[in-house]
Amino acid sequence: MSTQSESRFELDTIRERWEPRIERFKRGWARYTTHKMGVIGLVILVIYILWALFPSVFAPHEPAWKAYVGYENTRWTAEQSASLPHPPAFGDPFFAPLGTNANGNGIYTLLVYSAKDALYIGFAAGLLSSLVGVPLGLISGYYGDTWIDETIQRIVDVMYGLPFLPFLVVLVAIRGVNTTNIILGIAITSWLNNCILIRGETLSLKERAYIESAKVAGASDTRIVFRHIMPNVLPLAFVFLAQDAAIAIITQASLAYLGLADFTANSWGIMIENVKAHGYIYEAPWWLIPPGLAITSIAAAFYFIGFSMEDVTNPQKE
């Protein structure tokens, strides 16, 4: 009897502690949904996440499928191979809603199967650059105008002088062209913005009264930075995460275009590069346009989400 009431008591305290947070989240969500742009971005992102998780549900074939012959390892007749890349076809002679490329693979199928790659690069690079940029920005801001801040800012300054894409090209060419190196390279150069903006936010936050009182109460620097300041800059950090993800996806596509990509993987950038490599830029718009639109829409979705979140986290701006 007593244990039951005790556990209920515990449940109540948990609820009490979480209620304001849930409440705040609900209010934030209500504000977020007033932004049409943000909702559109979220819908696009959810569609791509579904594509990435269950590609076989959305795509009519596996990536190995080829026009005319399907999964069988037979050759095309001369006539069949001359018809490739084939414009969109619906059942006659085969089903490929966005046509095929020069190798006979369905464009729509490749598009669906490449979503995983784009999302992986976007989230991994975005998270990685936040993991570097946010703590450094916090430290730099909290110890503003000391040698720590000075050192971090000088490093950021120098890194901004680095030509970004050439640096990536050289780095990837040296360390080997694979997805991990591409993500690392993107993260090395994209934490700078996070660091500078989080620093600015921290500089203004640390002058607030509640930080002062935490200090008087004897909280350590680490505790103040991570318990009191960080939760307040986190929404902002998510804004930059979304922007970094967008930049990372475009950058990876650019690298693929320059011939620096893992060509065994499925990716939208590689699809565009293949149009060029096979010389069908002018003849096969059904091959050139969809992957570009896919990159544009996923990057735009991230930007839409980022900018709508910025409005939600900065209510005084309205």
Partner: protein, 329 residues
């Protein structure tokens, strides 16, 4: 004018120089950290060990690392870039031919992007929250999300392949049927540069707009804007002369970051249009494993960025009268 003192300028120059030295060191470390040496691409199976040893001798690879480093730093600062192993010409010659072409394309792109971006940002910030603002803002974000090389291909497809109005490769007509006079040269270059320029600025202007819009919006709440409106000045005058001037200041800071973004864009665009510039050079040399050229082009791009940053820095401090410099007064 007097606000920018020689001492301030000197300080900025020294800081830029140190930045360059650090980037050169990074570059050196990056290229030495790769497995093997760039000689691997020059050594053929039928070479004797003596020949290989002589090659290593000529390229200075037998020296201790610190000697190589000092040599590299000294040589690069005196414009001594060495020889290209694949092209067999001095690297300097290649770079010098390519540099002006990159500067023309990139410079034009920079100017267009930083005229269009702040202008659009000014209008959107002034009417923030209106229907027009929302739709233009959303569509410019979509433009910002487009891969620039893909946009460039679409432009080529439309303006070159379908309509045949503009040229899609190189900077000049090869084997022209006309005489090279000033007028024909200019029109010819204009004919070639329009599409690459359009492609760079199509994506590039948004960065400046993203900063100008909120900055303009903040300025509209200021007292002096109300005062100007109360004086009965036209909305146009208030917006352009009173509000926009002050809102421009953060754009100058953003330009420091935006520079690198535009350089990236121009590298891709050079690749698409076979524009014979540094960006096209760096990519092809990396793929050919011609490291002396790759290294030198990287260095040149870093120099461009650092010099442009110095200039924007000076412009920024000139624009903002609130900034006072050491030794100014």
């Amino acid at each position: 004018m007097t606000r920018i003192s020689a001492r301030y300028l000197g300080k900025r120059v020294v800081v830029s120089y140190i930045t360059l030295l650090v980037i050169m060191t990074l570059l050196f470390a990056l290229l030495r950290s790769m497995p093997g040496t760039f000689l691997a691409s020059m050594i053929t199976p039928e070479m004797t060990p003596e020949q290989i040893a002589r090659l290593e001798e000529v390229w200075g690879l037998n020296e201790p690392l610190w000697v190589q480093y000092v040599d590299f730093m000294v040589n690069y600062q005196t414009g001594e870039f060495g020889m290209s192993p694949t092209r067999r010409v001095p690297v300097w010659d290649v770079i010098v031919r390519r540099l002006p072409r990159t500067l023309i394309l990139f410079g034009a792109g920079f100017i267009v992007a930083y005229i269009v971006g702040p202008l659009v940002g000014m209008y959107l910030g002034w009417w923030r929250g209106s229907r027009k603002d929302k739709s233009i803002f959303a569509s410019s974000l979509v433009m910002y999300s487009m891969p620039s090389f893909w946009v460039a291909w679409l432009f080529i497809w439309l303006f070159n392949y379908e309509l045949g109005w503009l040229k899609s490769t190189y900077m000049f007509t090869k084997f022209p049927e006309f005489e090279w006079t000033i007028v024909t040269t200019l029109t010819d270059v204009l004919h070639h540069i329009t599409l690459p320029l359009l492609s760079i600025s199509f994506v590039g202007w948004v960065g400046a707009m993203l900063v100008m819009r909120p900055s303009m919006n903040n300025v509209t709440e200021e007292d002096y804007v109300f005062l100007a409106q109360a004086k009965g000045l036209s909305e146009r005058t208030v917006m352009i002369k009173h509000a926009a001037r002050n809102a421009l200041i953060p754009v100058a800071t953003q330009a420091i970051v935006g520079l690198a973004f535009l350089i990236d864009g121009s590298i891709l665009i050079e690749q698409v249009f076979s524009w014979p510039g540094i960006g096209e050079l760096i990519v092809s040399s990396v793929l050919e494993k011609d490291y002396p050229i790759a290294q030198a082009s990287f260095f040149m791009l870093a120099v461009i960025i650092i010099v442009m940053r110095l200039l924007t820095d000076v412009v920024y401090t000139y624009l903002d009268p609130r900034i006072k410099f050491g030794g100014g007064q």
